[in-house]
Amino acid sequence: MGTTKEAYLRYKIIDACIINKYKPYPNMDELIDAIENKIGKAFSVSAIQKDIKWMKEDEILGFLAPIKYSRSRQGYYYADPDYAIRNIPINELDIEALLAATDLLSTFNGNRVSINFGHAVDKIIASSKEVYDTSLDKRAIIQTESSPNQRGWEHFDILFQAAKENDPVCFVHYSYQKRRFNSIVIHPYLLKEFQNRWYLIGYSENHKAVRTFGLDRVYEPYLLASKFYLKPSFDAEKHFKNVYGVYPLSKKEEKIIFRITPSLSDYLISQPIHDSQKVEKYHPRGSLTLSVKLIVSQELINFFQMRRDDLEVFEPKWLVDKLYRK
């Protein structure tokens, strides 16, 4: 059992002792006895005093337990008689679901979001169950594409907070394509993942427009104390509804027609590139002509270019020229 989980178990035992109507006002020796009996190892007075202090004061832990010491009764009690930390009813299925969610989230490189989530889950379960066994099969059964050490991921928390709290942000940005540094002031609206990369979308004061920035190109974001601007016409869902990827090259939706080989057809039928994908024609030997209605994006162009041997675009003409010009 990890230290954190064990700490939650101690908090829960302390809580149970204090709210025990049949033996109110437990003293320090009684608390230590109860904890040692449950956990099966020795604890010092100072360790339990520290636990009580954390339960009372730690804002991240969140109990803010109104624990007082009664000199007359020589024991601990809650100033609020209705207070208890273990008043969250959850069952075994809930616990399984929470632990599965923790595992899933932890595949995101053990970042602070998942650490905080795991911490919250520990707290919920420990405050409800006597003991839960975390030493069960730890074999990884979910693996995502998230690559370790991906640059910029360390800024996820601050940018998430900025978008949530409506705080403008200033960060340094390096454009790979333009090979240029810039210092951007952005009013962040949305964090979006596409093909295992994260992007921040918001109103850029520099560009006077909504722009997308890859987190891997972001350096040292500062939260600003200036007024937040929410562009009235911005709707995240609409903004990306007809875009494959994050960098649209225009605002105009177009019908794109392309033919794919039989070897690619099974993949694109089972996993369409967009909701608008339609089969325009079945060819006798298994190849297909497909269409999608999309705003052409850099990512769509990359998608077509990477599949040149199995895919040929016929319309629109400008896209054909761009893809196949010598």
Binding site: E165, C170, Y174, R180, F181, S183, Y222, L224, A225, S226
Partner: protein, 137 residues
């Protein structure tokens, strides 16, 4: 959340510089230090992009009063004689210089690595500290 009213950010401040491959990005002025962020582009002058280093005698100077503020630390760039060698002429570097805190009345500063200096020195003049943005805690 309160703002750090004493932490002032000057974004892309106007200034004079003759170096095309050095971009002044931000100046952060706090009661404890002055931090200046730069972007640097390696050039094709050297086959593998050359190198960068910062002279420890680099100062920020109040352009009008002449008072100098010492360099106290750097981030991502070594202090000479150590140097950072680039691998290619396509390389780039984001780095920061940290100086003693400047007077709150200072409105224009210079960054002087060497005076009068060579073309390769990091000298920037007349950096205007106007229109500050306040940083949140």
């Amino acid at each position: 959340m309160k703002s750090k009213k004493t932490h002032k950010l000057y974004n892309l401040p106007e200034h004079d510089s003759k170096k095309d491959n050095l971009k002044l990005l931000r100046v952060l002025s706090t009661p404890e230090y002055l931090k200046i962020d730069f972007g640097y582009y390696a050039t094709g002058y050297y086959k593998r992009g050359g190198w960068v280093k910062m002279d420890k005698a680099t100062v920020v100077r109040d352009t009008k009063k002449g008072k100098a503020y010492k360099l106290i630390d750097t981030v991502n760039i070594p202090i000479a004689p150590a140097e950072l060698d680039f691998n290619t002429s396509h390389d780039w570097l984001y780095f920061s210089l940290i100086f003693e805190p400047i007077s709150s009345t200072t409105k224009v500063i210079d960054v002087i690595e060497s005076d009068p200096g060579e073309p390769t020195d990091f000298n920037l003049y007349n950096i205007e500290l106007s229109n500050p943005i306040l940083i949140k805690k």
